[in-house]
């Protein structure tokens, strides 16, 4: 496992928010590495710092202290526009509420993101079509998000995240808005996307997803309190996850 490519290397991440004279530290000296070939779950209670960590790892938020290397680029020291370049080239995102563009068809939702990467329109539509077919949406290409079920929308989001062939896919509670079976189907689909050149990091509350994961990182009160193999994982509170 250790020979696989390191996608993210974070060291000493601390994030403190200031509101007037009041300081709130939401991350405390967090260090971690994420590698290709792993599906990692980032778990923890609400307010534990999971989302803040995701924002910092993706270069959307600057830490108060600490460094993040994303695919070999020190992203924390970059200006926003350069951080966006790194995101565009290396990351795919899956959101809890899908965040699809409601006016666009499934095909255009995926193609639009490929166009952001500079792909010509015809090629983008072809790649988008193939990505949607891979997630089983051959017959939904020209449907708008409002005409799709929750599971189908999330599969469009997965196709959108994967179409650009990113090294790392970040998911923020991707199953939270789905029913149990659809949620498991979605994570199974994500599991299939992991390969020797790609990793997936999912923020979740759902311990059932551990059956599809290689690794679980548990965070509480802004600190990593557990990090290990998903199989037989015993949580910080003594609960066996899988």
């Amino acid at each position: 496992m250790s020979e696989r490519q390191i996608l993210v290397k974070a060291h000493g991440l601390t994030k403190t928010y200031r509101m007037g004279h009041v300081e709130t530290t939401v991350l405390r000296d967090v260090s971690l590495e994420l590698r290709a070939g792993e599906l990692t779950l980032l778990m923890g209670p609400s307010g534990s710092g999971k989302t803040t960590l995701l924002c910092i790892l993706s270069g959307m938020l600057r830490p108060t202290r600490g460094e993040v290397e994303l695919c070999g680029v020190a992203i924390t020291s970059l200006a926003e526009k350069f951080a966006a370049e790194v995101r565009r080239g290396n990351l795919g995102f899956i959101f809890q509420t899908y965040n699809l563009f409601p006016a666009l068809t499934a095909l255009d939702n995926v193609a639009e993101v490929l166009a952001l990467k500079g792909m010509p329109q015809a090629a983008a539509r072809q790649v988008a079509r193939e990505a949607l077919m891979r997630v089983g949406l051959d017959d939904r290409l020209h449907h708008r998000p409002g005409e799709l079920s929750g599971g189908e929308r999330q599969r469009v989001a997965i196709a959108r995240a994967m179409a650009g062939n990113p090294a790392l896919v970040l998911g923020d509670e991707p199953t939270a808005a789905l029913d149990r079976q659809t949620g498991l189907d979605v994570v199974r689909l994500l599991r299939d996307q992991v390969n020797e050149r790609r990793g997936v990091l999912l923020v979740t509350h759902d311990i059932r997803l551990a059956q599809f994961a290689d690794r679980v990182i548990e965070i509480d009160d802004g600190q990593i309190v557990g990090d290990g193999a998903a199989h037989g994982w015993v949580g910080h509170d003594g609960k066996v996850l899988a």
């Binding site: 989302t51 995701l54 924002c55 993706s58 959307m60 938020l61 526009k81 966006a84 370049e85 790194v86 995101r87 565009r88 080239g89 990351l91 995102f93 959101f95 965040n99 563009f101 409601p102 993101v113 952001l116 990467k117 923020d172």
Partner: protein, 171 residues
Amino acid sequence: MYYVVDLVDQRCAPDLVTWMKRQPDLQLLAASAWSRKTVDYWVGGSGAGAALLFTAILGLFVGGVIVGQTLYSMTKEHLLELATLKALGARPWELARFVLWLVVFLAATGVISGFSAALLLKGLLLRVGLTVVVSPETVGLSVLGTLAMCLVASITSLVTVYKVEAATVLR
């Protein structure tokens, strides 16, 4: 002071012209000079031109406020989508493009509806004997003025788009 317009060709009435030129209280003007003097009077001297200018500026100002508000609310409505694009790595100009399309759309809507109303009014006035001249210069200036007004009105929206935080999509 009185003005006399030479409705008769000067060559046909040289004596009359000579006589008129001798009169101390008469000023003899050619048609073009009279026209210019009339325009100067109505546009500059009477205050009618200033009133028209004031109305046009007020129209631009009120239009600017309305367009600004419309653009801003449309931008706010799509902020999550814009933040998503930013999270996915969109460049600032790619986000600004959204606002600029709205600017073009609103300007086109304004110009088309404005000119439709103006042409309708022109037709109605013609029936009562009033001719309204809409020159190509007037059309061009109106289109450019409307576009410029919409662009100025879009500044707040452009700033909002530029400052949208990608991280909001994960909160």
